[in-house]
């Protein structure tokens, strides 16, 4: 037995030595950015976190501060179309963070909002303005949307990041936090060596790609996207792709609409502001897609339901639908993104900066990962 104990001790000491070495290296290679203030989560690739979902899950504690905040959530077109730096430069009264996530559906958007709430005290919620970028491709049921073989069916990218480091525990009712939110930064500190190794693995893969294909990633650069013109064959393929991806013949998921409705309700109930943005898509896609009509109907209903509420606003940019301004069937080119960003900043300037947050005692609302929403009166928990 003494040999086993000795070897265990030697192994643990060696492991600890390597661990400390890598942790130190991670601080040298990727120094921590400032601990508070806005962050461009879309720039995840330049950080130790590599991907937006990981950056949002592990780096969100910066959103726990006493400043007024504008938090952008949505899918990749929100991420690409609203440039954090441009919106921020046109908006002096609030800190802008773009937490949009490639491939997000409405459920995942709600998860992102939940993650933000987890790190914020209830009193700070009233300082939030959530800008929710919408288009029909986000209204897909999670079971359909997230069904690849390398994940548990229905689990979003956020779920994967939550479980990956053991910060959350998988249960039949969804993720349950193992690590309290106040310990998040300490937890992230503890896993830095592994983040560095993962980063190194991804960089190595990019290096292999560069050798084999002459490119580090398959993703196009902004310059390349600027010059793209979609062919008819590509448009046909795109329509077919969305037909296969939506999982329904010609309408969007009513369950996802309901999730969005409950999410807005909960945010408004807790004193937060909400801006719904109907994101434009190129005219050819809007006119050819069978999903656009049901999406517009759902959006109209939501605007009717919430339109009168003082903390709710909406933005539509229907005129920005020129086919040539888009690099594919969804994403705005850089020059259009600049226009989107300026328009959003203008809207927010009047909605956020010219009004003070509602002071009435908010109901504190907990958004669960399941489809239910629980409302708790203050002081009852």
């Amino acid at each position: 037995m003494k040999y086993i104990l000795r070897q265990t001790a030697l192994t643990l000491v060696s492991f600890a030595f390597l661990y400390v070495l890598l942790a130190a290296a991670s601080f040298v290679v990727f120094p921590d950015p400032s601990s508070a203030g806005p962050r461009d989560f879309q720039a995840a690739e330049q950080t130790l976190y590599m991907t937006v979902p990981k950056y949002v899950v592990l780096g969100r504690s910066v959103l726990d501060n006493p400043d007024r905040k504008v938090i952008l959530v949505g899918a990749s077109n929100t991420g690409v179309g609203f440039r954090q730096k441009l919106v921020q430069s046109n908006l002096g009264c609030a800190q802008v963070s773009n937490l949009a996530m490639g491939g997000a559906n409405i459920s995942e958007v709600r998860q992102v909002i939940n993650l933000v709430h987890e790190v914020q005290g209830d009193q700070k919620r009233g300082l939030n303005t959530f800008v929710i970028g919408l288009w029909f491709g986000m209204f897909i049921d999670s079971e359909v949307k997230y069904s690849e073989g390398d994940r548990h069916r229905g689990e979003t990218d956020i779920d994967i990041e939550r479980y990956r480091y053991g910060f959350y525990h998988r249960t039949p009712d969804g993720p349950v936090a193992v690590l309290p939110a106040k310990w998040l930064d300490a937890g992230v500190m503890a896993i830095r060596p592994f983040l560095l190794l993962e980063k190194a693995a991804r960089q190595a893969r990019a290096g292999v790609n560069l050798v084999l294909t002459g490119r580090r990633t398959a993703q196009r650069t902004d310059d390349e996207r600027e010059s793209v013109v979609m062919s008819d064959a590509e448009k046909k393929k795109a329509l077919q792709y969305w037909k296969e991806t939506m999982g329904r013949a010609n309408d969007i998921s009513p369950a996802q609409v309901e999730v969005l409705r409950q999410t807005i309700h909960a945010l408004l109930d807790s004193g937060e502001k909400v801006v719904l943005v109907n994101l434009p898509i190129p005219a050819w896609h809007r006119d050819a897609s069978p999903y656009q009509p049901s999406y517009l109907r759902a959006l109209t209903d939501l605007l009717q339901e919430f339109g009168e509420q003082p903390n709710f606003s909406s933005l539509t940019m229907d005129d920005l639908d020129n086919d040539l301004d888009y690099s594919d069937e969804v994403h705005a080119k850089r020059h259009l993104a600049d226009i989107w960003s300026t328009r959003l900043a203008s809207k927010l300037d009047s909605f956020v900066c010219l009004e003070t947050p509602e002071k009435s005692a908010p109901k504190i609302t907990t958004l669960r990962s399941s489809e239910q929403v629980t409302t708790v009166a203050p002081g009852n928990n």
Binding site: M1, Y3, I4, Q7, F17, L18, G149, Y163, F194, E198
Partner: protein, 479 residues
Amino acid sequence: MSLTSPLFFAFLATVVVAYHASESVAYRRFVLGAANAVFIASYLNDVTQVLPLIAFLALGYVCVSALYLRQSGLLLASGVVAILCCYIFLKRFSFFEGLGQLPFPYLTVGLSYILFRILHIMIDVRSGDMTERIGPLAFFRFTCNFLCFVSGPIQRYQDFSAMDGRAVVQLDASVVYAAFSRIATGYVKFVIVAATADYAFTFLSPHLLQPSGLTFLKLCAVYATVASLYTVYLYFNFSGYMDIVIGIGILLGQTLPENFDRPFSARSFLEFWQRWHMTLSQWFKFYLFNPLLMFLMTWLPSPALTSYLGVLAFFITFGVMGVWHGTTAVFVIYGLLMGAGASINKLWQVACTERLGKKRYRALTESTTYVYLARGLTVGYFVLALTCLWVPELPQFTHLLARLGVAGVLVTFVVVAAAFAMAALSLDLIQNRIRIPVSLSAIQNGEITKNLHLAGKMMAIVAVATLLHKAPDFVYKAF
């Protein structure tokens, strides 16, 4: 209990510490028995799920006990039939759906290997090879040894009995380091190599099974890649698992039999099966091939026919071994393919020996070209035959074959065989030229370097496990 779960490591640490707390044989047997029970319980959500397993074990023990009392051939045959029927019923083979099934979910993990152990005891008791009476607790410890429960290796009772509660491996610093290193290597294979291959396989395989506009050559290239990735996954998953359990066995004073011996260095299909899943092929050799060949030779006692009877026995043995792997019709095809591979190999040996004579045939098999050609063909055949394991449903399997056609299968076979032969030749040439300087070798074997190496493996395992985010499962658990 997943091999990669924190629960498993806690369980393992507890068992090792408890085992070494006393040198009393009775105490250690108690610890091992309890460990087996806890390990099995970890698979259960409800106590009823274990009842069929208990019934299966009880039936086995009754059969074994009866054979101790009366070593009759008829009793053995009846016992074997009863055990097989019970096994087939519990495993829910699709061919026997008419038999019905139990109206509740139950544990089937480990049943296949328990079957082998029970049959081995019954046959050995009947033949007089085993005279030592087995008590019910020893029977449980042997058939349900947690180290071998899920997927072997398949031990003989005589070997197990010699170390049941007795530490046959004397632990010292180097033995313990070797055990730790073996376990870490197993996890590297299991969590890094196999899981990465599985990740790529999962990404690519849908292109084969779903309709897509792949050209013929692209289709063959994708098939060759996917089939090769699955083979890499299967080998590193299974052999990694074996490294882990054999390493743990050493810490518990046990020497478990090896299950793999560099299978991809085999120069023939028959040699391949002497190196791949060795305890399974040895079991089949002892308990099916040898008796079957003896029976056939008794039935047709012409010396001229002996080689051909061997071919027939190979075909049947490998066929049965293939069918054992799964419960659908595709596994019958797998069995037939394995049987055909072994038979063709045997016929080739017989024909070459007849035509060239033993000496010239041996000289031929030693030539470099022949060696790498044979290695390539062996692996190519095995890789394609394994398709049955990753396309286990007949409609999908026939759809894939129809897409490929005979030409597609042949092209893929040649591509895989040639690629493997070239890779093996290159690796062997490089290996033969690399000489580690004595000074570097001394550093490599130093205490600090060795332990940093071990810790580096552990660091890499944790990093890749988090990167791939979905815990790898043990593939042979399903067989």
